[in-house]
Symmetry: D2
Subunit: 198 residues, 4 copies
């Protein structure tokens, strides 16, 4: 069976559906606030966990699109993921991917993030496309979460498993910010391989 681009896009839409919950849900306070309209930009733990899962699902979706649809489809999907899940439109994202090296370690621009995920950008010659490595599943184990109002940081291990069953575990820090539409966006992302003492 062959997934068509539309299907791949649908998978992505599904992965990010969880991020689409509007910030201005109209809750109804029972006791003192019967009927009061409630707007909240505060982030809940459930929203944080959903945003993490959406990132993992998106990575797998890009890898899958690459295998089934080719490089162009993977690139389109990666662009959608970056535009939906990262906060480059705020002006910059503090992104230190796992495998980048100086002088291009930090990818504060959208172009730098896209190059890391799918490669093919002559301005980032060391990038071969991290998302194209046949990822099949992503497991997240948080050590701690710090929610500071409308931003939330997480730190812990993320384990990526490829189609050959090979697992890679990284130490990862994310910070999410809730945007005006109630969606969590990644504004800080620091990923590193575990320290290996000699």
């Amino acid at each position: 069976m062959n997934l068509r681009p539309l299907a791949a896009a649908s998978a992505l839409a599904c992965a990010f559906a969880v991020l689409a919950a509007p910030a201005h849900a109209h809750n109804h306070a029972a006791a003192a606030g019967g009927g009061a309209r409630v707007v909240s930009t505060a982030i809940t733990e459930a929203e944080v966990l959903a945003a993490q899962r959406a990132w993992g699902d998106a990575l797998v979706a890009i890898a899958t699109a690459h295998e089934r649809e080719g490089a162009a489809a993977a690139r389109r999907l990666a662009e959608q993921v970056i535009d939906a899940a990262y906060g480059y439109q705020f002006g910059a994202v503090l992104f230190k991917p796992t495998l980048t090296v100086a002088p291009q370690t930090f990818r504060t621009t959208r172009a730098g993030a896209l190059a890391y995920f799918v490669g093919g950008d002559p301005n980032f010659p060391n990038d071969s496309g991290f998302a194209l490595n046949g990822w099949r599943s992503v497991a997240i184990q948080n050590a701690a979460i710090f929610i500071a109002g409308d931003v939330a940081s997480t730190m812990g291990n993320v384990t990526l498993t490829d189609r050959n069953g090979r697992a890679t575990t990284v130490d990862k820090t994310w910070k999410f910010k809730k945007d005006d539409h109630g969606r969590l966006r990644i504004v800080v992302h620091h990923s590193s391989l575990p320290h290996a003492p000699r």
Copy 2:
């Protein structure tokens, strides 16, 4: 039966117990974050409603202490309430009480708030002590609540009923900020009598 000061203080402690929930409760995330420690400074709707009720209970407690224990006890209690429920230690509170007039309309200092609640301060000669008017109950009807991360604003009607059953309804706006200990503190308080067109 006569409530002693200690009992009055206990009533107050009870009224504010709800505010004492620490911000750094150690929740345990089940799904993705099994065992993750979660710190949150975000404010929930339930915390907002509890802080409003605590304000009402405190007003009744001051009125009651005044009748049963006298002016000194009421003053001590009012100081405790201000120190526990307002944010004067942040540098200023934006407080426009219901009945103040120019040039002392705005009570941005602790002394101005205390004078408004219990009077007796020669620097605020128009203040006779709003909290000493025999209040017996406080009902809060929110029109809307806006939670912006670690601060939350409410707007609506507050109806105060005194020992003779006479009710006074005011239009009231509050803004609460969660402090480092997880307690909500009033940093904005604008109260006004309903507009009476001639």
Copy 3:
């Protein structure tokens, strides 16, 4: 001389130009952060004062458009002002205008705000259009400002002067929130006539 609608709109654009400064200005840190890109959603005192002035200028612009262009032009301008300067798109605004009465005291919806400013809405039969009263100038005297990160509250007196030189002073509380584009939007607005003891 007669101002055409376009000119009135230009006046408004001018009034709000100050709000259009993007949040993601790329500052350049000298010392430790040479060349670092800086994104900030924090609000400065200068931004607060500019947003207050823009509100006053907009009120005068609506009054002026009404006199020169008529009701329809004033209404169009009021809609632009509400959409540019208030935060109804977040889900609700906590708005208690100076002259509203129960059961329509609180204008948590855009329609309620528009009716207050320009009248003409059968759903708000008591509204005659507050912005249409010939306002010529607005002076703001803050008692205190509380900036809590990306939201900021102000409290103080606002004095409106009409074309006959008659001044009206109100007690006013605003809360502004910086949106994703770096503009301050009013999310709380409580205005009341000074208390008049009998």
Copy 4:
């Protein structure tokens, strides 16, 4: 010359003096807000850079105290630094030091941080004391800074140089939160050696 413990403590006090600026400085707005009291919990870029420098100065101070005063003095100083500059009192800090390994990679508790800096804790047997490596200077090169109201994140390179002139550069992410007293505290700290492709 021999620095006594008191002198070392003074050096630390100096290093952190920059953090002691109260949040509730009473600014005086000139234009519209003449005389208005201004409270702000927003973080400025200058405060971020100062907090980073204070961290570097503190690391050097601990290393110096260790050489001149011994292990006990270094430990006391490290405790003061952690209590003054980190946010463990909020409930947890998301701290991934440069050299830790599983299953003790993440140091979400004060004890785990202290063990990393000065070692000597049987519960953290792999820790030999990172701060005791003869550090003489710390240089910080930010790639980007994201200030989200009363929290601020930085990402970039930090270069530590020891008494033999040997430099170590790490990729580092910090998140600072302004506490109720106006001091920036580290609530996220992810440090990693640069990726070394084989």
